[in-house]
């Protein structure tokens, strides 16, 4: 299996922190190859994507907590049709929706590292791979995922 990064070809839209500052801790964390998820300071509930209020207790003291960068595949899709010119040389590729049990089961979106035609299984354990884009005007790091080696 190819573990080549980046998963998608050059020229895809990059990521940058929201100008409001809402998700800066997440993007700073990925630059250090760490996974930080929003967590309510009042009720302890996890929340993703970032929001200004806790949807459970309506507290505004939203904090951030580093979590183990592992998860399991909740769902997935294999993209074949290039809706962006940069995708043309990179299809098919796989998108995974990854559930983080250690963070209240929040879900994140990323790409599955490896061949686009690989077998993908719901429930499979995955670990994060931090994909640096140092040459971008505003350098950023994406969170990609690769299957965890089976352990028994």
């Amino acid at each position: 299996m190819s573990d080549t990064l980046p998963v998608l070809p050059a020229g895809m839209p990059g990521a940058a922190p929201d100008r409001s500052g809402l998700d800066i801790p997440f993007w700073e964390g990925t630059r250090s190859h760490e996974l930080w998820i929003q967590r309510c300071n009042d009720c302890g509930g996890w929340q993703w994507g970032p929001e200004w209020i806790c949807h459970r207790c309506h507290g505004f003291e939203m904090d951030w907590e580093q979590v183990e960068s592992t998860g399991r595949i909740y769902s997935w899709m294999r993209v074949w049709h290039p809706v962006h010119p940069a995708m043309s040389d990179g299809v098919p590729f796989n998108v995974v929706l990854v559930e983080l049990p250690q963070a209240g089961g929040v879900r994140m979106i990323g790409n599955l590292v490896g061949e686009g035609t690989q077998t993908v299984e719901i429930g499979a354990k995955v670990e994060a791979v931090f994909e640096d884009h140092d040459d971008a005007e505003e350098p950023y790091t994406l969170v990609q995922w690769k299957p965890t080696e089976p352990k028994d």
């Binding site: 990059g14 998700d23 769902s75 809706v83 998108v95 994140m108």
Partner: protein
């Protein structure tokens, strides 16, 4: 007082109209002109002067605003100027609900529900952004190649098939074939004369697994409109009225939670709405004679049909077969004009027009004695909406 809080029978659709339906980018008229032509056609069908219109309702941020339309048409007074927020094509039945609520409550008398699209003159739905970097919620999806509607919703279908062995790609295929079949008898349909065989479907390219080309809606230019009037006047118009038995919009709890974090992921968003809809209409799914179900993607149709009670998670593949879905003899005639897949992607408003035509006996794939006509808008988006129309026999 509780009994008064219903739309049932208080409003009727009395006229429908549309422009020629075009492939994307092929309409020569300006989008505003397309909308005007559709409204004029609907008024002519209803036998009223456009100057009698006193309300306008649309959805999905239609660019053609009621104040401009009312001035261009010289309507006597603009009493209802309404936009259904959110939901993309999920607002179609919602616009009907809003228009109906205005009429039932005495706010307006003759409300036109309309939608115009000229994707050649404005942006396309099916293309990603061309910016170097994205921020906010899109930064957590778009750099990973999740940009187009198909990419946003396909993972629901993947998980649907995983969770429910009684639902598979076979149901999706049946939906696509039924829509194309019905388009062959509909001269308005963009895919009229372009039949689709099972082999064509199987050999079509993947867009996003589990969706092939023919699982995805078209992109089109055109406009459609329908005129609604008070139910107690409905028999004064040239065609048989299609009474609104129920119409409403809604969405489940935290349906638009960011980055695919809605509590219930595997849903077309109708689980809560459907019981309310049938309760207002005072009919059951078994009473429905013909179904128009919005196809953004066939997987969404399958989920919507299940959530409205036309099939179950266990028997969907047995119920949602091509034979069952085609008029006039199928048990669940579906998308009898060709719908978004094969008539025209008029953001689902063409499905509303077809639901009305079935009640009036004017469909090109007519179901015999159609008295109860169901339509749902925009599965999976937030909010979604549904409507049920009935003939005079249902009142």
């Amino acid at each position: 007082m509780a009994n008064d809080r219903t739309l049932r029978g208080k409003v009727a659709v009395v006229g429908v109209g549309e422009t020629t339906y075009y492939k994307r980018g092929q309409a020569e008229d300006q989008e505003f002109v397309l909308v005007l032509k559709a409204i004029l056609a609907a008024c002519e069908d209803a036998g009223i002067s456009p100057k009698q219109l006193d309300g306008f309702a649309s959805f999905s941020n239609d660019r053609n605003e009621p104040p401009r339309l009312a001035a261009a048409l010289d309507t006597a007074e603009l009493r209802f100027s309404n936009m259904q927020w959110g939901g993309g094509g999920g607002g179609g039945s919602g616009a009907v609900a809003n228009a109906s609520a205005a009429i039932a409550s005495g706010i307006a008398d003759y409300v036109v529900v309309y939608r115009g699209l000229a994707q050649g003159q404005f942006g396309r739905f099916g293309q990603g952004p061309r910016r170097p970097a994205v921020r906010g919620e899109p930064a957590h999806t778009i750099p990973y190649g999740v940009m187009s509607p198909a990419q946003i919703y396909a993972m629901r279908a993947t998980r649907l098939f995983h969770d429910h062995p009684g639902v598979s790609e076979a149901s999706q295929k049946a939906v696509a074939l039924a829509s194309y079949h019905h388009a062959q008898s509909n001269p308005r349909a963009v895919m009229h004369g372009r039949p689709l065989s099972g082999e064509d479907y199987d050999e079509s390219r993947w867009i996003v697994e589990p969706w092939r080309l023919f699982d995805c809606c078209q992109e089109n230019d055109g406009a459609a409109a329908m005129v609604l009037a008070p139910g107690d006047q409905a028999k004064d118009f040239p065609h048989p009225p299609a009474y609104v038995l129920a119409a409403m919009s809604g969405s489940p709890r935290r349906s638009q939670a960011k980055v695919h974090n809605q509590p219930d992921y595997v849903t077309s968003s109708f689980k809560e709405l459907a019981p309310r809809l049938f309760d207002m209409a005072q009919v059951t799914p078994d009473d429905v004679d013909v179904i128009q179900s919005y196809e953004n993607f066939t997987g969404g149709v399958v989920m919507a049909l299940i959530e409205h009670g036309f099939a179950t998670y266990d028997n969907a593949d047995e119920i949602l077969t091509y034979e069952n879905l085609i008029a006039p003899d199928g048990k669940l005639p579906l998308n009898t004009s060709g719908g978004n897949l094969a008539e025209c992607y008029m953001h689902g408003l063409e499905l509303q027009l077809e639901a009305v035509r079935q009640i009036q006996g004017r469909s090109t794939a007519q179901v015999a004695d159609a008295n109860v006509s169901f339509v749902n808008s925009g599965p999976m988006v937030t909010p979604v909406s549904s409507a049920i129309f009935g003939s005079e026999n249902t009142l």
